[in-house]
């Protein structure tokens, strides 16, 4: 009799994203029951665990727009054997990256200082606030990424197919209808 396989430990996070990919993940509905048979969750909006421990799989939604995103991404890379970019923003910066042609400094001054009616306004300088990067970056430009699940968001079906392939030891592949960049 074979001993049951230990559960796969998964962490998830959303960086500069909209949590749409996480919502799509939840769209696998009753398959979540199947998933928790074989997987357990570490740091994730689903568990409210604040920091990531050693994991098998990390799912990253969103690109990198600020210093905090960098720290979180590094924490995931450090702890996850397999790191996956989930969705358009993680893969190419997505919607947030459409600010990349704007000059950040003048943008911040416009929003916090120079616009009429701001009075004593100034660019916030609270050390608690993460500073913005000059450009929003896809996560593969910061750390090594093992897999990508495209889509905005990827369908729950695509995420499920990908994860079940991965957990079963197959190189994940998406069928044509699951391949979407939008």
């Amino acid at each position: 009799m074979s001993t049951p396989r230990p559960k796969v430990r998964i962490a998830t996070t959303s960086l500069a994203g909209c949590f749409g990919c996480h919502m799509s993940f939840l769209d696998i509905d009753e398959l979540l029951f199947d998933l928790v048979e074989v997987a357990e969750f570490d740091r994730s909006p689903l568990t409210d665990i604040k920091h990531c421990g050693p994991c098998d799989i990390g799912l990253i939604e969103g690109g990198v727009c600020n210093a905090e995103n960098v720290h979180v991404l590094r924490e995931f890379r450090h702890n996850c054997k397999t790191l996956i970019a989930v969705g358009a923003c993680a893969i190419n910066g997505g919607l947030p990256a459409q600010r990349n042609h704007l000059e950040l400094e003048s943008c911040l001054r416009e929003v916090y200082q120079s616009r009429a009616g701001l009075g004593q306004g100034g660019v916030p300088d609270d050390p608690e606030l993460p500073l913005l990067l000059d450009k929003v970056r896809p996560i593969h430009e910061l750390v090594r990424i093992d897999y990508f699940i495209p889509g905005c968001p990827p369908s729950g079906e695509a995420i499920w197919k990908f994860l079940s392939d991965l957990i079963a030891g197959r190189t994940p592949r998406l069928s044509y209808p699951m391949m979407r960049f939008d």
Binding site: N100, H140, F181, D182
Partner: protein, 234 residues
Amino acid sequence: MSKQFLFDGRPVRFEEGQTILQAARAAGHYIPHLCWHPDFPPHGSCKLCIVKVAGRHVSSCALPAKEGMEVESNTPEINGERRALVQMLFVEGNHFCPSCEKSGNCELQALAYDLEMMGERFAHFFPDRPVDASHPEMLLDFNRCIFCELCVRASREVDGKSVFALTGRGIHKHLVVNAESGRLGDTDFSADDMAANICPVGVIVRKRVGFATPIGARKYDDKPIHLVDMEDGK
């Protein structure tokens, strides 16, 4: 009697003067392409149509077929290189599919799907490129240009207007319009021009009709480009 060559091991008949791509298409075999169009002579710039003949890579859109040639096209090696070329195009421009009205009807995106481009390989250039909304009916979003020159050729050779041209060189190459102001609205461009309807990506788009087709009903939603493109008779 017509001659024949081998395409991925299968015999393909051809007429003298046909290119590999033309002959393969006539025989029902798709070869990926972006800058090739049946109404124009081969251009040979996108390089998506590369195939291997006698161990050498060639552009199938440009090379005339020859008796007894052995052509490799749909192989993991060639498709891997084609995928990388598409990945290059994706980092060169600003291709944000979710907010692009061409999504679902875009040949670049459809090829990326077909070649299973799951993600990216290279670092982005994030170039600063303009949008030109000066024309009453048409919009130019240069962020999405892949330099296939189909609009350049259509406007010059079919419309007789030369509304578009490429200037600059290397990674700084860019599309310009035929006006001292640099604005499309100051040219004689018309929404009925062939050039207005030939862009394989989302650079030259019609105003006020974006996102009209629901997701699921768009050109490449259900069927991959290797099927759609052959049905088109294009």
